[in-house]
Symmetry: C2
Subunit: 450 residues, 2 copies
Amino acid sequence: MKVTKFGGSSVASAEQLKKVLAIVTGDSSRRFVVVSAPGKRNNKDKKVTDLLIQFYNAVVYKQETDEVVREIVTRYTEIAAEFHVAKQLEQVFYTELQQLQENYDAVDPYALDRFLATGENLNAQLVAACFQQSGVNTRYINPKELGIIVSDEPQNARILEQSYEKIYQWRNSDEILIIPGFFGYTVDGQLCTFSRGGSDITGSIVAAGLKAELYENFTDVDGIFSASPKYIHDPELIEYATYREIRELTYAGFTVFHDEALMPAFKAHIPVIIKNTNNPECQGTLIKKNFEDENRNEVVGVASDDGFCGITIGKYLLNREVGIVRRILQILESFHIGFEHMPSGIDDISIILRERHLTREIETELMKQIEEKIQPDQLSIEHGLSVVALVGEGMRERPGITADSTAALARKNVNLRMISQGADERSIIFAIRSEQERLAVRSLYYTFFD
Amino acid sequence: MKVTKFGGSSVASAEQLKKVLAIVTGDSSRRFVVVSAPGKRNNKDKKVTDLLIQFYNAVVYKQETDEVVREIVTRYTEIAAEFHVAKQLEQVFYTELQQLQENYDAVDPYALDRFLATGENLNAQLVAACFQQSGVNTRYINPKELGIIVSDEPQNARILEQSYEKIYQWRNSDEILIIPGFFGYTVDGQLCTFSRGGSDITGSIVAAGLKAELYENFTDVDGIFSASPKYIHDPELIEYATYREIRELTYAGFTVFHDEALMPAFKAHIPVIIKNTNNPECQGTLIKKNFEDENRNEVVGVASDDGFCGITIGKYLLNREVGIVRRILQILESFHIGFEHMPSGIDDISIILRERHLTREIETELMKQIEEKIQPDQLSIEHGLSVVALVGEGMRERPGITADSTAALARKNVNLRMISQGADERSIIFAIRSEQERLAVRSLYYTFFD
């Protein structure tokens, strides 16, 4: 039995929803369907969720709301019309939005969550109605009924363990259940939305709870690519990847989905597949804990991200002075700054940070404190760095990869500001000047692919 | 004006002392001579300092001392005889040793220092007498008279800043001053010996105080080699090195001298040269802050050292959890353990430590605490690692070096457990299995030398 999730663009129009219907009915093991709110149909279009935020603001500031409400309902009824279920839904949806508005209370911490969740919630009802109309034995199910119980953190809810066995009870449902993504209910019955990953996390949770054989994540791309199309024309699709590889790839620049959203499935060892609603024949990217016989590349991908900076601290006998690095990190921590990497020489250490953590004020204060509390012989900060990660569990078996990658970068005169490769040898991480990011990604990609 | 220091083997016998005399009188700018205690004349021989420790223990445990005292004095008188100054010195030296014994007080914290320092102190008197007898205008000077004022830490004294201007007063002495190395006096006039580097540090301090043009460090090797003769037959001599390069080389395995001993000279920007008493024609190794025109190798040396281990800690979202690494270091610190390197992947970090910090008990307790306080998804320790450092300031200019070195290691199937290269790019550090240390050093050496 499979849990199948469809993203916003897969349910943005009647045409898309027909593809979804074909996909679901095309495999009898697809019995649990999680849907996002309708996304953009084209570049100029608005996501329903954004319309709901607009609606929310209008309510908060007591502005006119008829038009935005009509716009929201129309997004659904246009789809409904094609499936001949517009009549039965139109009034229901208007009523739901009116109640949202009437029940709004400025001091209610859950108010925004309810507005946001409505996009998915109405869509699940729409999809269920369309499927039924098409003769599929299906129904909408509310996350509360399904058993998605979350922490009491508006817009930042986390799943509670107890949810899983509740969800498991639905395992043998004879109807196909249509589940709205993106939200759950607290123990006290309050609606709370998840922080990141929206509907992806709901799908992941449901798959884990049901102990599904597979969690299918349908998007509008064929899967995860071995490099960003931003730098590589028509990059290779990753057919098989491990959870760890996906983690490391998404860490640096891969944004197909939010990898944290997949954690519930990962932890329950449920295989995940990323597929394309618009090209379901494409095998997509299968993600598992590990692979035995499949013949996989040693390197599965090259990821990169900019917006890093590096602080270099030199101090004589730095490595003999127990506690000095801990004190440096303590200073960072006092600014709530975590670091990404910390390669070290003999008397010096480089700390690679995300640029976004540093305003000019914070930077000045941070450097001042390091100067005062650490009294380094040398202290400098370099902005405009990018991190490039070469990722692949197979690298462990082949010492040559580090050599090949550094050679490739050297041939293009990419100046390595930092290299970090830890004992697990699942990735090699390079810090370089951002101007050279494109060059670095391309030279690494063409060294290990085609 | 130069400060010239001679190590133990350079003053171990009359034959050696004649070489020293020739060296000192061969250059009129050599006006300050620092001497160690007589070292071994052959493999079976004992260092005078070791005889003094034997003497000290005999006194402490109230054992018979005549024989060891005779043995010590004989080491000096044998040399003195050749220079016809045995008569004048023999009784003086006996008296000094007797007084040491008579003044011994079990509760005196400086007692051992006085015994230890006697080796250098008598030797400086011997050398001065021999030089005078040979017609050189010279005299022995006691560190107190010279102005070497140290912190009140028996066997672990550090030089006090005020010493330097006192020493500077001697700059224009018309006599060649013979200075015993290894000790100074506290503000209260107590004799204290230095912790490490013995006489090297005295020479370094005197050179800094006098603002000498050069500090000559005469040993029994031609200088510093680009790799350990333990692994490389007849390795290249390093003709020019910067202070930083020497630091990084000595860090990992180079034991010609203790680099900390050279810090006073380094800080005063006094050039240091390492030369061979037995082969003074050899140009030796010149160490300066930096070099302009000299044509130097980009890589000056390959150093290595074993006895490392690596702790690898994996935890999902490790790099987003501000403070987690600081907490890991805090645990290490609670065991007074510093770390050497800390390369990191995405969700994992490897900590490279000196094996000597870990007894089995400490290791067990350390791992237990990391397990409890950090709750990692993965935690492991690997013993039997070596660190190999490729060092050279010129590496900064040539990206290719990282590639060439990793390629060389890959060709020999050296498995890299860790790579660390910081922003200063003065060295690349590899952690490998100790079984492969020899292989790694050789493959790197033959990649960058001859």
